[in-house]
């Protein structure tokens, strides 16, 4: 089964492509999310797709929503709730 990090990277790159934002691989850990070319709609879509794929929305599970600033923090948020994962695809 793919790691949460891998799934996130796949979808993140996909969304950057859809929003015609520049893609630098590998994605820098300290990439500032607000400056990478995704607008709020892009993020909203990304989170929806991740929920469809992984089976959970970490922002819903948090008691107090804390929004990640960097890509590392973004992955961290998802990894923190990885036990809620319901997908079984490779």
């Amino acid at each position: 089964m793919k790691s949460v990090r891998s799934v996130l990277i796949d979808h993140f790159v996909n969304m950057l492509d859809r929003c015609r934002a520049p893609i630098e691989l590998p994605i820098p850990e300290d990439l500032i999310l607000l400056e990478c070319g995704l607008d709020s709609m892009g993020y909203a879509m990304l989170i929806t797709q991740l929920e469809d794929n992984l089976g959970y929305d970490p922002f819903l599970l948090m008691e107090e929503p804390v929004y990640p600033r960097t890509f590392r923090e973004f992955v961290g948020v998802y990894e923190r709730y990885a036990d809620q994962r319901t997908d079984s695809c490779a």
Partner: protein, 444 residues
């Protein structure tokens, strides 16, 4: 024979009391020999006989699955019962019990095995087909509203108020033979039943157990030439193996927004048929029709004095208000927009999706995606999102193109045609989209 040449059967100056009960009304106004045709059964006018055994029953409740038996029960009880209550055959036992507790009927008649287990219910008995010889009372009909998301309510009507829109066909070379696609216990179904019975037509029904394909095959075999359905149901019908192409002459749509794509598809399938879109409200008991094959309705409907007695206005919130003259305005809850000489339907106000402050109507998304060929049905909903409150999510039916390809096509099309916030954040392929028993798409 164009539907424009039809005139109302019921003179608006007629007092309620002057209208006889349904059975008598059928016999006196309809020259057709055939009352009703169902699989294996043809019921002609000489088979229904007058009964004098009623002595003014107060309340009769019926919950009947077989459409033919239901129609025959309407004829049996209108004029004999003070109150005739129609509970849909699909209504759960639990809900029926609740209604029964409030209604306390003398008679409760059903063909449903689950209800027959309860003491108050008796089986349908139509061994002799009767109608009340004398109209003992002006029966109050209680008809359930759609209630897809809430408990249905019972709206009070009389035969007169239900038959108000029935048109009589003058000099028809062949009678209008209506195929019943709706549940006859609901307003839309009753409109078709009464149009057939009182409007010099004939009624063809299927069986509750029939699939849509079987129903359409049956209609074709019986020479059905008139049908009424919701746009969602018409889209399903267009996918059936249709063999009655040439015989269909009258098509009506109602219950949901009739967008240009479904109107065009119907025009293409039946180029010779007249196409009428009906907008009606169960509660207001009034509506209007559009016959020009274009979506929406003419702007002039808002100002002109109409023969159908329907007055229309647009509220400050952009909703369509409707009423019969001198009655209170009823807010339809349907958002509309005037553009040029036309008024367009945008969707249900309570279905609006709020994407980060931007209001989106699911119907607009559905209409846009339905333009893509190979896609047969779409449902758009608001999906909760931590960043924007809601985003658009769609369920799509497409059986002929691979999932990855059609999803890409949908996204490309949406980005081209709509603002970014309207583009679906999630696209899910489904095998079909269920309809309610009033033929509307389930939206919960």
């Amino acid at each position: 024979m164009l539907i424009n040449e039809l005139t109302p059967v019921l003179d608006s100056s007629l007092n309620d009391r002057q209208l006889p009960a349904l059975g008598l009304c059928f016999l006196s106004s309809n020259p057709s020999n055939l009352l009703l045709s169902s699989p294996g059964r043809q019921i002609t006018r000489d088979q229904i006989t007058p009964s004098t055994s009623d002595n003014g029953t107060r309340t009769v409740v019926i919950s009947i699955t077989d459409p033919a038996d239901l129609v025959l029960s309407l004829i049996r009880w209108d004029g004999a019962a003070a109150r005739l209550v129609l509970l849909p055959a699909s209504m759960s036992v639990a809900l029926i019990k609740k209604f029964m507790a409030g209604l306390k009927p003398e008679r409760a008649i059903t063909d449903r095995p689950d209800l027959l287990e309860l003491a108050e219910w008796e089986p349908v008995n139509l061994t002799s087909l009767v109608y009340p010889k004398h109209t003992l009372q002006k029966t109050e009909w209680f008809v359930p509203t759609s209630g897809t998301t809430q408990t249905p309510r019972l709206v009070q009507h009389s035969l007169y108020s239900l038959a108000r829109t029935v048109k009589s066909v003058r000099n028809a070379s062949s009678p209008m033979r209506w195929g019943l696609l709706y549940d006859p216990a609901r307003f839309a179904g009753l409109q078709v039943v009464l149009q057939a019975l009182l409007g010099s037509g004939e009624l063809v029904v299927g069986k509750d157990s029939y699939s849509l394909n079987e129903t359409m095959a049956h209609f074709s075999a019986q020479g059905v030439n008139a049908m009424s359905a919701t746009p969602a149901l018409w889209r399903k019908i267009l996918l059936c193996d249709l063999t009655c192409e040439s015989s269909v002459r009258w098509i009506t749509l109602g219950g949901e927004i009739a967008d240009q794509s479904v109107l065009n598809a119907l025009r293409e399938a039946w180029p010779k048929a007249s196409l009428t879109h009906i907008y009606a409200s169960t509660e207001a008991g009034v509506g209007f029709s559009v016959k020009d094959g274009l979506e929406g309705f003419p702007l002039s409907y808002l100002t002109e004095k109409r023969t159908d007695g329907c007055q229309l206005r647009i509220s400050d919130e952009g909703c369509l208000l409707i009423r019969r003259p001198l009655e209170p305005w009823l807010d339809s809850g349907d958002l509309v927009e005037a553009r040029g000489e036309r008024v367009y339907f945008l969707g249900r106000q309570n279905g609006t999706i709020n994407v980060g402050g931007n209001k989106v109507q699911p119907e607009e998304i559905e209409k846009t995606i339905l333009d893509i060929s190979d896609i047969t049905a779409v449902r758009a909903t608001g999906r909760r999102n931590p960043f924007l409150g809601q985003v658009v999510a769609v369920d799509v039916v497409c059986t002929t193109v691979e999932e990855d390809i059609i999803k890409k096509r949908i996204l490309a099309h949406c980005y081209e045609k709509m603002d970014g916030y309207k583009v679906p954040a999630s696209i899910r392929m489904v095998s079909e989209l269920p309809l309610t028993d009033t033929g509307k798409m389930v939206r919960t």
